[in-house]
C-alpha cells in the first residue's frame, strides 16, 4: 500500500520530539480524519530553519509526511520552506495512495502555523 520511502520514514521517523522554548510552534489538525501534528522550529538570524521537531498523531502516511517535511525544510530559509507544497512532499515520498493525499496537507499547515507563531513572537520582542 505504501512506498518503501514512506515505510522507511514511518519506521525511522526523523526529528521526532519537541524543542523546549522553540522560536515557533504550530499545531495543525486534519479535519478529514481527525489527526494532528505539532511542529517546533528554531530559526537563525537569517531566518533559516536550523532545528525542527515534530509530534504526530495519525496514520502511517501522516507520520512519514511529518518526518520527510522536517528533512526537506531544515536549513532552508522560511520563505523557501513555505514554497513547498503538499504535492512535492508526496512526490518526495515516492507518492501516496490517493486516499492518503490529504495527510500531506497536515505538514504544510503545521509549518505555516509554526512560522506564524515565530513571527508573532518576534514582533512581540521587537515591540519591547
Amino acid at each position: 500500500m505504501y512506498s518503501d520511502k514512506v515505510m522507511d520514514h514511518f519506521r525511522n521517523p526523523r526529528n521526532v520530539g519537541e524543542i523546549t522554548e522553540p522560536d515557533g510552534v504550530g499545531m495543525a489538525g486534519n479535519p478529514v480524519c481527525g489527526d494532528m501534528m505539532e511542529l517546533f522550529i528554531n530559526v537563525d538570524e537569517e531566518e533559516r530553519i536550523e532545528e525542527i521537531k515534530f509530534r504526530t498523531f495519525g496514520c502511517g502516511a501522516a507520520i512519514a509526511v511529518s518526518s520527510i517535511l522536517t528533512e526537506m525544510v531544515v536549513g532552508l530559509k522560511i520563505e523557501e520552506a513555505l514554497k513547498i507544497d503538499n504535492k512535492q512532499i508526496a512526490d518526495e515520498l515516492g507518492g501516496l495512495p490517493p486516499v492518503k493525499m490529504h495527510c500531506s496537507m497536515l505538514g504544510r499547515e503545521a509549518l505555516e502555523k509554526a512560522v506564524e507563531d515565530y513571527r508573532k513572537k518576534k514582533m512581540a520582542t521587537a515591540g519591547v
Binding site: F10, V16, E18, C33, G34, E38, C59, G60, H102
Partner: protein
C-alpha cells in the same frame, strides 16, 4: 520472526481437511452436477452431501439450504429476495446500526427504491435492545434483519427475543450469522429465524463460498434467473469444489465448537486482561460477557490505529482497526460510532480475532510486543500529556 495472525474475523486459511475434501472436485471429479452421466452424478452426490452437512450443522432441512458465493451474496439475496416477494404486503424493514455493509448498503439501496428502513441503535456494548425493535414495528413491517454477532466488537445480539416479536406478527426474520457460525451455536429453530447468511472463508473454508438458509414456507423471490439450479432460487452451475469445501468446513466447525470455543475464550481473556494490565488508558470496546469467544477489541487512547497496525505488522502480528484512517471513506467505524464511542477513541481501536492456529505462546508474544509499540507511538503523539501539568482531555 514469529508470525501471529490475529485477524480471523477478516478471513481464515483453508484447513487441510477442507482442502483435501475439495481437491478431487477440481481434478478428476470435475463434472457438472446437472449432467446425467456418472461424472455429473458424482458431482451431484457431493453437492447434496454438503447440503446435508450444512443443514445438520444449523438444525435445518437440506431443502432449506441454498449455496451462494458467500456472506455478501447471502445477505443481498435474503433481504432483496424477501423484500421483493412481500412488497405488496408492506415496504418497511427493520435493521440495526451495527450491521455489516452487505446488509446496511442493501437496505439503503432498497430505500432508494421506495422501501422505508428503521435502523435501531445499540447500547454502549454494541447490543440491540429488543424493546427498541418492538417500538420500531409497524403494520407494514415485512422484514427484520439483524446480525447474530458483530464482526468488529463481537457483541452477541438477543436473536431469540427479537424472533418472538417477529413470529407474533408474521414478520420474516433474517440473521447474518457469518461471524457466529462455528463460534457459538447457530440453530435455526432455537433462534426462531427464517433466513440465515453463512460464509465459508470465516470458518477455514475457501473464499467465495457460503450458503443461505431459507425456512420452508418463506415468501421469497430469486434475484438471478437461469438454469434452474438450487431449486431456481440461485441458478448457475454449482461451484462443486467450493460447495464440498464449505460443507466440510461447516461440519468441522460445528463439531469442534464446544471445545474450540472454550479454548479461544481462555486465550481471549488472557489477551484482553494482559493488555489491560500492561497498557494504561486502554478501553475495552464491546461487552465482556455477550461476546464472541475469539474477539478482542480495545482502544489505545492517544494513538492512531493504522500506525498501530503497521508497527505490529513489523513484529509479525496481523490485526485490524476501526480507525478513520484505515477506512476508504476516512470515517471511523460505524459500529464504534453507534456504540457512542468518541471519534478519538475509535481512532485508536484495535481488533484482534483469534483462531485455531493461535496458541498461548502467540498471545504472550503479542503481550510482550504491544506495550513498547504503544509507548513509542504515544511518545510521538501530540495528544499524549508530555509536559508537566499538561493534560489532554479525550472525551
Amino acid at each position: 520472526m514469529r508470525r501471529v495472525y490475529l485477524d480471523h474475523s477478516a478471513t481464515t486459511p483453508v484447513r487441510p481437511e477442507v482442502l483435501e475434501a475439495m481437491l478431487p472436485y477440481l481434478k478428476e471429479n470435475f463434472g457438472n452436477a446437472s449432467s446425467i452421466h456418472s461424472f455429473g452424478q458424482d458431482a451431484r452426490r457431493a453437492v447434496e452431501e454438503a447440503r446435508e452437512k450444512t443443514a445438520q450443522a444449523i438444525g435445518a432441512d437440506p431443502k432449506e439450504i441454498v449455496f451462494t458465493s458467500g456472506g455478501t451474496e447471502s445477505d443481498n439475496l435474503a433481504i432483496r429476495g424477501v423484500a421483493l416477494a412481500k412488497e405488496k404486503k408492506g415496504r418497511h424493514i427493520i435493521t440495526s446500526a451495527v450491521e455489516h455493509h452487505a446488509v446496511l448498503d442493501t437496505c439503503e439501496q432498497l430505500e432508494k427504491q421506495g422501501f422505508t428502513v428503521t435502523r435501531v441503535g445499540v447500547d454502549a456494548d454494541g447490543i440491540v435492545d429488543p424493546a427498541e425493535v418492538e417500538s420500531a414495528l409497524r403494520d407494514d413491517t415485512i422484514l427484520i434483519t439483524i446480525m447474530h454477532a458483530n464482526n468488529e466488537v463481537g457483541s452477541i445480539q438477543p436473536i431469540a427475543e427479537i424472533s418472538r416479536l417477529a413470529r407474533e406478527r408474521e414478520i420474516t426474520f433474517h440473521v447474518d450469522a457469518v461471524q457466529s457460525l462455528g463460534k457459538i451455536p447457530v440453530k435455526v429453530d432455537e433462534l426462531g429465524i427464517d433466513l440465515v447468511s453463512l460464509s465459508g472463508h470465516k470458518i477455514y473454508g475457501p473464499k467465495g463460498t457460503g450458503a443461505l438458509y431459507i425456512r420452508k414456507g418463506t415468501k421469497f423471490k430469486p434475484l438471478f434467473h437461469g438454469g434452474g439450479q438450487e431449486r431456481k432460487l440461485r441458478p448457475g452451475t454449482e461451484n462443486v469444489p467450493g460447495i464440498v469445501a464449505f460443507g466440510r468446513a461447516v461440519e468441522l466447525a460445528v463439531h469442534e465448537l464446544p471445545e474450540e470455543a472454550r479454548r479461544l475464550e481462555v486465550l481471549r481473556d488472557r489477551l484482553m486482561d494482559g493488555l489491560l494490565q500492561r497498557i494504561s488508558e486502554l478501553k475495552v470496546n464491546g461487552s465482556r460477557i455477550k461476546r464472541l469467544p475469539h474477539n478482542v477489541n480495545v482502544s489505545v487512547i492517544y494513538v492512531e490505529g493504522e500506525s498501530l497496525i503497521l508497527c505490529l505488522d513489523m513484529e509479525g502480528i496481523a490485526v485490524s482497526s476501526g480507525s478513520a484512517c484505515t477506512s476508504g471513506s476516512l470515517e471511523p467505524s460505524h459500529v464504534l460510532r453507534a456504540m457512542g464511542i468518541a471519534h478519538e477513541v475509535a481512532h485508536g481501536s484495535l481488533r484482534m480475532t483469534l483462531g485455531r492456529d493461535n496458541t498461548t505462546e502467540d498471545v504472550d508474544y503479542v503481550l510482550e510486543k504491544v506495550p513498547a509499540i504503544v509507548e513509542r507511538l504515544r511518545s510521538m503523539s501530540p495528544l499524549y500529556g508530555h509536559r508537566e501539568g499538561e493534560t489532554v482531555v479525550v472525551q
